[in-house]
């Protein structure tokens, strides 16, 4: 299977910056995979995300989306249709006064047939659990609801890849859960490729693959189990492990022999129960 996004040794330095934001990153993203990207502030996560749909193009190296070079302006529209982006602040991403108009905005601009727009808008709103709100005013929705409308707006373009740059940073716990559940379902049920950038370690637990960036380079790359068992390495990179792992590490240091791959609270509780029985 060919990767949907292929990144070959890219570097990017912002004007006036004293060091590159990305410094020789290579990465293949396979279709249907759920990739979480972690890293401290300033590690290059957002810069990497912006390279995935040609908001930024590399100063050296190459990014290919479905084989299309992002540096070639002729590919721009096709790339933007395939790779949709959702950002941190839902208020900056909503343009219309009615939820369904907002979701229809992108396909309308792409010149999609009205009948097909209707179908896509309804399908997208159903996928994120916001169909019942289709006639509501977006500014009266909660943060989690707004962010799901923003995701529906991207889905209406029928993308292959969904890139989310800290989509839950401004949300309350319920809003976070709603957005993450919607994103996970899109990946697992619809086969959409997901790249999720986050500061919350527990949001990366369900991913297929976790990347950790540090000063513009990929410092760690593996399954959540492989990454989160490296407590010291993560701390050195200004990150933490999920609380479940912190607990396991503490108990094992006191002589228990718990498996270190129990990442969700349910898995962790089951492992502890098993050990105490």
């Amino acid at each position: 299977m060919d990767p949907v996004i292929r990144i070959k040794n890219i570097s990017y330095t912002y004007p006036d910056a004293d060091r590159p934001a990305l410094d020789g990153v290579s990465l293949d993203i396979m279709p249907g995979a759920f990739t979480a990207v972690l890293g401290s502030n300033g590690s290059g996560k957002s810069t990497l995300a912006k390279h995935l749909n040609a908001i930024l193009v590399p100063q050296s190296g190459k990014v290919f989306v479905d084989g299309m070079d992002t540096i070639d302006e002729g590919n721009l529209l096709a790339i933007r249709r395939r790779v949709g982006m959702v950002f941190q602040n839902p208020d900056n991403q909503i343009v219309a006064n009615v939820v369904e108009d907002d979701v229809a905005f992108a396909p309308e601009n792409l010149g999609v047939e009205p009948k097909e727009i209707r179908r896509r808008v309804d399908a997208a709103l159903k996928q994120v659990g916001m169909y019942d709100f289709r006639l509501h005013a977006p500014h009266l929705l909660s943060g989690g609801q707004k962010q799901r409308v923003a995701i529906a707006g991207v889905l209406a373009m029928d993308p292959e890849v969904l890139v989310l740059d800290e989509p839950t940073a401004m949300l309350d716990p319920r809003g976070r859960r709603e957005v993450l559940d919607a994103v996970e379902a899109l990946c697992r049920e619809r086969g959409i490729t997901v790249v999720l950038i986050t500061h919350h370690m527990d949001e990366a637990v369900g991913a297929d693959r976790v990347l950790v960036l540090d000063r513009g380079r990929i410092a760690l790359d593996g399954t959540p189990q492989q990454i989160f068992s490296q407590t010291a390495a993560l701390q050195a990179l200004r990150l933490t492990v999920p609380d479940t792992v912190a607990l396991t590490v503490r108990l094992n240091a006191a002589g228990m022999a718990l498996p270190t791959d129990a990442l969700t609270p349910a898995e962790c509780a089951a492992a502890i129960w098993e050990a105490l029985r």
Partner: protein, 287 residues
């Protein structure tokens, strides 16, 4: 006498219009000097409306706001005094930096207090040191700072007012885990050194569990109020109003469901690990 007291506070937005919304509903709350109080609640529960009353940015529809027992809305002078004594850091304060240099931005508040030059200089330096902002950036434009530095500069601007009460709305949102930890540690240290009071609005239960007291809001009212231990023992109620539990409380709950005999009120990883190890000791010993 409490430092801050809200008596039967109600705030209604757009009163008399079809969009009328009661954001705060007959709420009473007293905060004692020296406490670190966590204010938690889902989006729209009324937290931001509540804190906007504490330094007189919003006027109650009914009820009173007392600072040291005096109504802050009594006169223009008392409103002004409340603005200086209660420092509020709103969400994403870095968007509010506006001066030409970092120094001028932090000095803005003290200048409004009509302090003299040396005193302003002392306060700016002290506030910057508290938040961990290097004096080397004082002459730079705030726009040239990194996101984390901007956040620190904005908070320093409020600390430089030397308020008695510091109110912060999600001060660590968007920071990486190490940045979160560092900033929180500095704020708690500031509270200790200044013998001040902190009111911390947060969604992050790992922050909430470090407060002395938690006040939980829902639908414009206070639904729980107590120590983290007491509040987090109401797990189901918290979940039902859209909040989370700290991971330790969540795992402890799952273990209790399995039949493990864990003591009530566990909400930190330290306590949970201790309790699990105690059980293990019991079962390992011959009886």
């Amino acid at each position: 006498m409490s430092l801050i007291e809200l008596r039967d506070l109600t705030h209604v937005y757009s009163q008399g219009t079809p969009f009328e919304k009661t954001a705060i509903d007959s709420l009473s709350l007293a905060i004692e000097a020296g406490q670190t109080v966590g204010l938690i609640g889902h989006t729209g529960s009324g937290k931001s409306t509540l804190i906007s009353h504490l330094n007189a940015l919003l006027k109650p529809t009914s009820g009173t706001v007392l600072l040291d027992g005096d109504d802050i809305f009594a006169s223009k002078a008392s409103i002004r005094a409340a603005r200086f004594r209660v420092g509020v850091v709103f969400q994403y304060p870095e968007y509010q930096l506006f001066e030409e240099t970092v120094f001028a931005d932090i000095a803005y508040g003290p200048k409004n207090l009509k302090l003299d030059g040396p005193e302003i200089d002392r306060r700016v330096r002290e506030a910057a040191a508290f938040v961990g902002l290097d004096a080397g950036v004082f002459d730079r434009s705030p726009l040239e700072l990194s996101g984390g530095q901007k956040r620190r500069a904005a908070i320093a601007g409020v600390l430089a007012m030397e308020p008695d009460v510091l109110v912060l709305d999600e001060p660590t949102a968007g920071l990486d885990p190490a940045g979160r930890e560092d900033l929180l540690g500095r704020l708690f240290r500031w509270r200790q050194v200044r013998d001040a009071t902190i009111l911390l609005v947060t969604h992050d239960m790992s922050i909430a569990n470090r407060c002395d007291r938690l006040v939980v809001m829902s639908e414009g009212r206070i639904v729980l109020d107590g120590t983290p231990e007491a509040v987090f023992s109401h797990g189901e109620q918290l979940l039902s109003i859209g909040l989370d539990l700290p991971a330790a409380a969540h795992i402890a709950g799952l273990l209790r469901e399995q039949g493990l005999d864990l003591p009530a009120g566990i909400y930190t990883l330290d306590r949970l690990a201790e309790a699990i190890l105690a059980l293990r000791g019991k079962e390992a010993s011959p009886c």
